[in-house]
Amino acid sequence: MLKRILSRLGSLFERTDPNDKRIKLRDGDALLASVQGERVIAYTFDIALSHREFVIRNLGTLPEGAWVGTIRKFGGVVIAVNSRTYYENQLPAPQPVLDVIHENFR
C-alpha cells in the first residue's frame, strides 16, 4: 500500500527532463505496439483496432522475431502484455521487450 502511494506521489511530482525524448503516457493510457530487437517498430493509440489489423496496416506482416501487444501505464509504470491473437496468451511482455518499451515510453 505504502509503495503504491509513494509511486503515485512520485508520478505527481515527476520532473520533466528536457532531454527525455520518450513519449509520456498518462495513467490509464493504452496503446498497441510492436517491438523488434531494440526498436519500437510501430505503435498506435487507436485501440479500436485489433492487433492483427494494427500489424497489417503498419507492418504488412509481423517480422520474424518481432513482438506485438498492448501497453498500459499504471502508477507511473509502463506495463505491457502479449497479444492474444499472436501468442494465444496475454502474459506480461518478456523483459527484453519491456526494456525497449521503457526506453521509448514513460
Binding site: D46, I47, T70, F74, Q90
Partner: protein, 130 residues
C-alpha cells in the same frame, strides 16, 4: 479518461465498422457479429490487465481499455436495434450489459471474468443465426 479520448475511440470504431460493412456488404447481423468479435478483443485486453496483481479496480475502470469496451457496447446496442426479429438477442445482450454494469458498480474483479462467458454466448448465437 477525458471525453475527447472517448470520442476519438468511438469514432475510430465507427469508421472501422463502416469500412468492414462496405467491404463485405454485410447486413445488420453481420455488423453485429463483427462488433461482437471486436468487443471480445477489447474485453480480453482489459481482462489481461485485470489479472495483474497491484492494479486497483478503480484504475482499471477508468482506463482507455475499459472505455473501449463501453464504446463497443454502445455501438453493438445501436446495431441490434436493427434486428427486431431476433427475439433471443436482447436477452443475451442484457446479460452482458448487466455484468458490465455490475462490474462498474461493485468493482468486483472476479465478476469481471464473467464478461467473457456472456460475450461468448452472444457471439455463438449471432454466428449460428448467420
Amino acid at each position: 479518461m477525458d471525453d475527447r479520448r472517448k470520442t476519438q475511440l468511438r469514432r475510430s470504431l465507427e469508421r472501422e465498422l463502416e469500412a468492414h460493412a462496405s467491404e463485405t456488404q454485410c447486413d445488420p447481423r453481420g455488423r453485429a457479429l463483427w462488433l461482437c468479435v471486436q468487443l471480445d478483443n477489447y474485453v480480453e485486453r482489459w481482462l489481461a490487465f485485470c489479472a495483474m496483481p497491484g492494479i486497483p479496480m478503480v484504475s482499471l475502470l477508468n482506463d482507455d481499455l475499459f472505455a473501449m469496451i463501453g464504446c463497443g457496447a454502445v455501438a453493438f446496442e445501436d446495431t441490434i436495434r436493427l434486428l427486431p426479429d431476433d427475439h433471443e438477442l436482447p436477452a443475451r445482450w442484457a446479460r452482458f450489459s448487466a455484468v458490465l454494469a455490475d462490474v462498474q458498480a461493485t468493482k468486483d474483479r472476479v465478476r469481471a471474468g464473467e464478461l467473457r462467458g456472456a460475450l461468448a454466448e452472444l457471439q455463438t448465437h449471432l454466428a449460428g443465426e448467420l
